[in-house]
Symmetry: D2
Subunit: 464 residues, 4 copies
């Protein structure tokens, strides 16, 4: 009988379509066999555990400059934390500076990550307003796609960065000519800015005004508008961090008309609510869009279960407690929450254990659909030929979330004190065990940049 380099044995394999008992045989960096009773040079005993594809987080911001701040997890610390939680691939962002060729910006961003990451990573290319009207910039899109970056981030909020409607149309139309996908932050920046100015003018500086000046209707508006313009441009669209039922309804409506529209939500929108912005610690929870209501949480869970939303990512963008609390008013607080590490367990705890999601849906939203929709061709499945990225997840393990147990390089967590049900025992990246019973045993710099590619002509569900 063939000897594999590594065998994961006795576990229950979870995929987006099935739950069954089998061993996984790994040779080098690839899964070579899914079978009964395999034998290997090294064996990981998965008795009592789930064996699922390494989780994929398609929305993270590591060492990202935000005004005068920078998100406090760098590529090393952030990917290490991700690995602890069972994530084996993240996709971060390139934001080209004014005048900077996209290709140069991509190279510069890769230079920050290559050699430092604990797991594989990909990059989305941002098209900021300062590039959107320049034919020379848009002409680089095929080259960027060819370099393994087929996904382009567009902002409808944040003055300077955000695209106006004409730019949106042009960029979406350009993208639609290539095997590429636009992903959009849908909030109406100009209207939010006016509401923020109004609030400050009335002395409303507390963090809770952050939520009140980014109400659900403006998110719904921007979501609907971006979908309308994408339809006019003939482009598929993926909406990041959907936070509320009103925005969700716009996606649902577009999908029902046959439009290729996709949506993501994040653990913070599934578990936190606007009340977290009240009180002295309110500033910690400033992120855009803000947490909403429990009714919105329920709508998001239902949309994940019903297939209206496809992916759960984190929008991980941590700032220190000092940075989150020392601002003069809510508009000065750097926006973003940490979350890269606990995603898989949070969704298991609040989704699977409560019956809101099936095991298959959990795997689909966190592992398989991210791979398919974002063109991670060799990832996201437990099948021969795919990268040997695996999580061995113990569904019985109980632990209390908190900075003491997390590996994120930030001194607080929005989930402090939460009781989790289930946590990874092992994380395997390209055939190598990199986390073992809570210890990182991989190496920083062993992760690789992943060249992604999308089908030229996506069919109904973007199959490869």
């Amino acid at each position: 009988m063939k000897e594999f380099d590594l065998v994961v044995s006795n576990g229950t394999i979870l995929t987006a379509e099935a739950v069954y008992s089998a061993d996984v045989g790994i040779s080098g960096k690839k899964i070579e066999s899914v079978a009964r009773e395999l034998r290997g040079g090294r064996e990981l005993d998965a008795t009592g555990c789930y064996v699922l594809p390494g989780a994929i987080d398609v929305h993270v911001h590591l060492q990202m400059p935000v005004g005068s701040y920078q998100s406090c997890d760098d590529f090393a610390s952030g990917t290490l934390a991700a690995a602890h939680g069972g994530t084996t691939t993240v996709i971060d962002f390139v934001v080209p500076e004014p005048g900077q060729p996209l290709v140069d910006a991509l190279a510069a961003r890769r230079a920050e990550a290559d050699g430092r990451v604990a797991i594989d990573y990909g990059l989305h290319m941002t098209i900021p307003a300062w590039h959107a009207d320049q034919a020379s910039a848009l002409a680089q899109i095929p080259k960027i796609v060819g370099a393994g970056v087929p996904t382009f981030k567009l902002y409808l909020a944040y003055e300077g960065l955000r695209l106006d409607d004409a730019q949106l149309y042009t960029v979406l139309k350009t993208i639609s000519a290539h095997p590429a996908l636009a992903i959009a932050h849908c909030e109406n920046g100009p209207v939010c800015d006016r509401m923020r100015t109004e609030a400050l003018g009335q002395g409303q500086t507390a963090p809770r005004y952050h939520a009140l000046t980014r109400p659900p209707r403006q998110e719904a508006e921007a979501t609907g508008r971006c979908l309308d313009i994408a339809a006019l441009a003939g482009a598929p669209l993926y909406v990041v961090h959907v936070s509320c039922a009103e925005a969700l309804q716009r996606i649902t409506s577009a999908r029902r008309s046959g439009q290729r529209a996709y949506g993501e939500t994040c653990p913070q929108y599934l578990t936190l609510s606007e009340g977290s912005l009240e009180g002295p610690k309110g500033g910690f929870f400033v992120c855009a869009p803000p947490p909403r209501t429990e009714a919105d949480q329920a709508a998001l869970w239902a949309a994940l279960s019903g297939g209206e939303l496809q992916i759960i990512a984190t929008d991980h963008c941590p700032f220190t407690a000092a940075e989150k609390t020392h601002a003069a008013d809510f508009t000065q607080i750097p926006g973003g929450l940490p979350g890269i590490e606990a995603r898989l367990s949070l969704v298991h705890t609040y989704g699977v254990a409560t019956g809101r999601l099936s095991l298959r849906q959990w795997v689909s939203a966190c592992c398989t659909t991210p791979a398919r929709l974002f063109g991670l061709q060799g990832k996201g499945r437990v099948a021969p030929g795919f990268d040997a990225d695996l999580v061995i997840f113990d569904p019985q393990r109980q632990l209390t979330l908190g900075t003491a147990t997390l590996h994120e390089q930030v001194d607080w967590t929005p989930y402090e004190g939460l009781a989790l049900q289930g946590w990874p025992r092992f994380t395997v990246s390209r055939g190598q065990v990199i986390v073992k019973e809570g210890q990182f045993v991989g190496g920083l710099g062993q992760g690789r940049f992943v060249q992604r590619s999308l089908s030229a002509r996506p069919t109904a569900d973007w199959t490869e």
Copy 2:
């Protein structure tokens, strides 16, 4: 290296979640390994072909009495035809006679099939009106579930057979107390009967009046009513043979409110339209519900792609050309169409090749979801431990549909002359090649009755 009994090599494996190259190693009746470069005592070369789970047809009527007629495929001929088309499991029906205990009816029906079937089969239990009000009959439901029949067919049409609203409520509530699923034929029988009487009274005897007296609105009404009563009873519901956008909309609406509602359509509703009932051959196409419009076809395809409908089955119920054409008026024509053999290829041709469905959706609708939703625990996936039911499907094979090429025991087909894209090269049932390049090489009687079981507490998507 281990020797398997049979290896399917060099094919492209299709599942509901992935498309990849691997071999399948089979030992005895089970898949034992999915891996690269396997070796076996016998090898099936799948080069250039798809390797998918054996197709499952959850809705067939073999040797079924309908009034003074009987459907003309028996368990032998019907399952043999199914095997030719790549179907490795069918689910047929038990219809207990008045006063007959359900258990006895099940035994009698099994006696007709056991020892004759070419492939595995399961049975649904029908609860007719004559049993629905009898506590003694309903008390047998747990025993029937325990005997591997957890699905119960309810009719809202056909006088005598059909349940009235009170019976529906009681039967659905009884079913909901068990790990069982109700499946319903949703047409408003009493209203259709009045419309038929009206038509005959006006001398409208031609086959096209069959469609005009079963309009979409009555199907929608019955579908909506059955969903409403299922919701009141707390029971999940699967609607068979959805034919039109109006009925579909009722299912969609229920699903959006969080109800566990599922729907099936059939190749005839995806490819035929009401015009087929015109002219001298109109009588051939009498089935209930009747074929609808092209707009309805489009709505059904979109619903399959969007996940609003989950399964494509055939409702195979053939009658001879003579039986279909010698009736005095349309109400005397035995209702039903053949279709058990060409389903997989028809959906590939009209769904996949046209871009309406992805390869993954094709497998999901024809193979995997039928297994999951109907409790065929060991079937419907290409993974270790599952039954070695496989189809090796050549997507390049072109052929013209017609009675000359089909193996159904009926002297006509509604699809005569259609050009098909793709056809099975091999069908494997429990590890045995039973169809090889168009030749049946299995044995009648080798198929087995499959004991099915559903989860006691279905979660969001009825995962096992």
Copy 3:
């Protein structure tokens, strides 16, 4: 200048389209002039008051047998109470006994009312199950229409009385051939009966189980079904006493598809909720459908404002406190609430004064649309040639509702203690002042049976 018999002067005229100052000149039984500065033999000073068309209550049950009980307002006391509240026309029901020709039943019912009523009245003809299948009964429909009864009540609840689907179809189709309108009580009787039996079997006898065994979903089901069957029959449909958002949604959906569907709600559904069925007085509030939730109330108000519901009637059907409270279990309590007197003021208080409805909508729902939709050709407007039925309503008048102030012949009211805003000062019926500052100054027996007639071919909004 011409002398009128009666002039209503100095008031603010309210109609469904305008609010303006003018006098109303009456000659004999008719309005002859709407003008400035009229002079009459007798003048009613309406300074500070609204002058609106006499209110019309299209849904009352006077001296109606219900099992062994009879509603305790007779034609005299009920119409007298109505007059006090500003209602100048009521429409009651004929319920033919088994075998009784419709014409005879109409004559018998008229014999109970003629000579006793304080105001004008009309009648709806009920088609019970025992007539629905008899061609001889349906053949009388044209004669009944010709006798001034163009509206036919159909029940989907109450065993014996209720029509099954086939009967519904036939009766609706018959009605649709005439200038007639079907009005339907939409609850699923058979399913409610099963739920009631279940409840009693579990010892659940308290009044609150009345509501729990008539849940919104069953009302929605029956409403949707009746609309579907009406569409199949080509008949317009008016749904009485819509109580909840779920049923309302079915009407809205039908209207949006272009179907001629209309709906009524009642003060009890706009102001009471299911909590009223709790506690020792719960039995008082048993009516079908039962009061629902505050969310349902809000949905009903919004539907009135948005035009999805057209009419507010009372379903007045009083039983004494003793009758409502002495039953062994909730199924024995005679169903129905009083309300004939306070409708106009209740809707002013809870609708107009709160801003939920405009003055115009108040008049439309209580006066003008009832006249138009139910064929009261000469009523419901303040315009020359129309019957001089008027209410002079003082919007500033405040009073506390209670049996002490009401004239209904029943010893309790569901609205005991409510503070009302606005009450009639004068009620004028066919030119005669019949209520003057709270005193009845008309005569019992002066009211007349009104022959109603509908347009043969209703246009979009059933204009005359």
Copy 4:
């Protein structure tokens, strides 16, 4: 018996709520009496005719500069043509120039109209982009409201003029603080501009590209966005010239959520389709939005009937045949169609005579609702105290539309050759007969500027 100055006798009075026979007595400029058998110094015999409130056209552009062109009907010719067709009030627009105080612009526009108009007129104030960000301009809004101009036109299309989202929010919020109403041209100008540039770049210069570069989805987008921003600002919104089902759906959806949203369509969208832009005469039909499909026409008619759209206006903006046909490409053609004269008859012909609208709905959409929604306090009803603006309309009159019969000062009409059913015999403005059997017998300059005012707190349906 009192002698009136003018009596309209023997006609059938049509209002938005009733149809009845009565005479109308007029003293001076006001209706004084609606009664039977009135006598006057002068009598207009309306035998066989409808007597309805003078029609109101809330959307006209007379002598309006559009680029280097000017619409070719001036205040004299345009209002004279309107009078011929039965319109007794028009509302035109003020467009302040950059830097021009709103008050001055209003005075200047009034100076163009006063002394020239044949009928009464009002004005809307446009808030262009060049004013929207100037606090000094917005500070004038209360003064403009006080001057009888409580309605403000906002453009989402036309570079320079159009407001961006931030401006929209600020202007809508400012308006919402006053008894005022925003009315908006909802097309996405920037996206249309890009599409136009694309088309020209591909040599697509023919008129039909005008429609292709202003597709329904962009109109729907702008409509939905404006409604979303209005909701955020707490402002009611009236959408002008709704042309298609997609835009309509956004209004409907807002209304169902309880938002105060109103919509207008025009005869061109109810009767013309995109095919009119084909061929050598295509340029004539350039207007924005463009005519759509027959399915859109059907949706608009249904929305008028169902109350989702409230008003039919003309957007009258005529250019000569030479101006419409001599442009180098479609972007150079001055946009706009004539239509001020035939509106009432066109809607009678294509709406009432076909059964799509009732008589009451015709009056509501063309006469009464325009008065109510736009604060024409003394107009739009046939009731004492209201302005004696009346049309005596002969529904049997048949004529063929064409420039030969029209009085518009433009040498073509989009309705050339259409057979009309019904036309006015007399038009009465403030008590004076101004059109008599097709002859203008009034005087240019006799019309007056009408100071309009809205309720401070609109209730559910904006009642006065």
